[in-house]
């Protein structure tokens, strides 16, 4: 088998060691970008989702505006505004912020994080408000405070309800990250575009990268399946 692979590598001029390395670097960039934005996005989304369920409109209102704005506009537009817009602010190049926003990684990370945080906020909020009234009343009857109710009753159950919708969001985010290549990042798609531009072989360059995305999605689906089995095991029939 390795013989076959090395022979095949020697025969074609598209999948050389150099281009495979470029794909690998693209994979690393994509995984970094998606993982970090999802992680930070989730950390932001949890408190926002809880505050979004508060009755006081001065608390929930601004969060509604935020999620509405970021869910209501294309991610590509958000990325353009953050990447090109920030560079147009007069004098930004002289501040320390420029060290962060000069390279495409941080503008892309910011755009992706804010976007996924908005979607995740709404997913978690939906799961929170779907808590059966009876559970809350029972918790109240036990004399649990708001904090304790949230921690012991509402959030653990909300997590069970949210995990399926959230797994979709994670996969969408992976695929949405392909647009990072428009702001000069060499992520997986960026690597594929560079290789395509050199070889003019769109099928080879893009089908190969599509397979890598499929593989990543497969891993994500597997992980979330395990997580769902763990979180939802009380719903399985007793004898299975």
């Amino acid at each position: 088998m390795p013989d076959f692979i090395s022979q095949w590598l020697n025969q074609n001029d598209i999948f050389t060691v150099m281009t495979l390395l470029e794909y690998w670097n693209g994979l690393v960039t994509t995984v970094q970008l998606v993982f970090l934005s999802l992680l930070i996005g989730l950390v932001i989304a949890l408190p926002l989702a809880i505050l979004r369920t508060v009755r006081n409109p001065f608390v929930s209102g601004p969060i509604w505006v935020y999620t509405y704005l970021f869910r209501g506009t294309p991610l590509l537009i958000q990325l353009y505004i953050i990447y090109y817009g920030i560079a147009q602010i007069p004098g930004i190049q002289e501040t320390f912020w420029w060290n962060i926003f000069r390279e495409p990684f941080y503008p892309a990370l910011l755009a992706f994080t804010l976007n996924t945080a908005a979607y995740t906020t709404e997913i978690i909020r939906g799961a929170i408000i779907a808590t059966p009234m009876g559970e809350i009343e029972a918790a109240k009857a036990y004399g649990m405070s708001w904090m304790l109710r949230m921690r012991r009753i509402i959030l653990p159950n909300a997590a069970r309800r949210a995990v399926q919708a959230y797994s979709n969001e994670v996969i969408f985010m992976l695929h949405a990250s392909a647009i990072a290549s428009v702001v000069t990042m060499v992520d997986l798609t960026g690597a594929a575009r560079n290789i395509y531009a050199r070889t003019y072989a769109p099928f080879d360059a893009f089908i190969f990268v599509a397979l890598i995305y499929l593989m990543l999605t497969f891993i994500l689906v597997f992980v979330f399946r395990k997580l769902e089995n763990h979180l939802l095991r009380h719903q399985r029939p007793m004898n299975s």
Partner: protein
């Protein structure tokens, strides 16, 4: 039987008819790429290559249709028969020539270096250029030149459009831009605070009309028409409208 005959003759008539009417050539451009192809104030497609294409079609007695196509999809679009020829500043390269059939080159412009005022580093001095950001348009001959000569030295950033690249030069994300000279002259040098630096670099054989490999008849007609235009002064007249210097090959 009669019915079948009529149907068959109808089909035959349609077939031959369509062959005769097929002398409409669809030519693709990627706009804006001033001054080669762009839209004027009225939204009309114009520019050096557009006018040259019009003259060429007239010379060939062909009906031409102009199609707008983004650079990324140029060659795939041609091969997928979305259009029949590309006249969008496509430089002749061996890699491209494997997929498409090129006419004889009809112009050649050098690549030019552009930067913000005050940039005084020699672009050929690799030590001084170390870790500078250089912008190119992905898949152009300028990209190939920088990739071959400066990989590992400078930070190469590849853009889908020249517009995005110029924005990043203005935003100081790029130190230097290496771009087709007329485009740089028009979109960068004309701006306050930006200058041309170093020597422009002559790249490759020039720009040709790209067609599908099997369309050798079309290529022959295109070559003949271009030769005539170059000789009878039409080419020079169009060139003078857009350029102060000679780009004829």
């Amino acid at each position: 039987m009669k019915k079948i005959l009529i149907a068959a003759s109808c089909a035959l008539a349609m077939l031959t008819g369509s062959v005769q009417a097929e002398d409409s050539i669809r030519i693709a451009f990627d706009v804006p790429y001033e001054p080669f192809e762009y839209k004027d104030e009225n939204g009309e497609l114009t520019g050096f290559e557009v006018e040259l294409a019009e003259a060429m079609c007239e010379e060939m007695n062909a009906k031409c249709e102009f199609v707008i196509q983004a650079w990324d999809g140029m060659i795939p679009g041609l091969l997928a028969r979305k259009f029949d020829a590309i006249m969008s500043s496509m430089s002749v390269t061996p890699e491209r020539a494997e997929r498409v059939l090129f006419s004889k080159p009809y112009y050649n412009t050098p690549g030019g270096w552009f930067a913000a005022e005050g940039f005084d580093i020699d672009v050929t001095d690799m030590d001084a250029m170390k870790d500078k950001s250089v912008g190119v348009q992905r898949g152009t001959t300028m990209d190939t030149f920088v990739t071959e000569n400066m990989t590992g030295v400078v930070n190469i950033k590849r853009y889908n459009t020249a517009d995005d690249m110029v924005l990043d030069l203005e935003g100081q994300r790029l130190d230097v831009v290496f771009v087709d000279y007329p485009v740089g002259e028009q979109t960068i040098k004309n701006k306050d605070g930006f200058i041309e630096i170093g020597e422009s670099v002559k790249l490759g054989e020039g720009v040709g009309v790209a067609m599908r490999k099997r369309d050798t008849d079309l290529a022959e007609r295109v070559n003949k028409a271009l030769d005539t235009l170059k000789e009878n002064g039409t080419y020079d007249a169009i060139m003078k409208k857009y350029f102060a210097y000679d780009i004829k090959v």
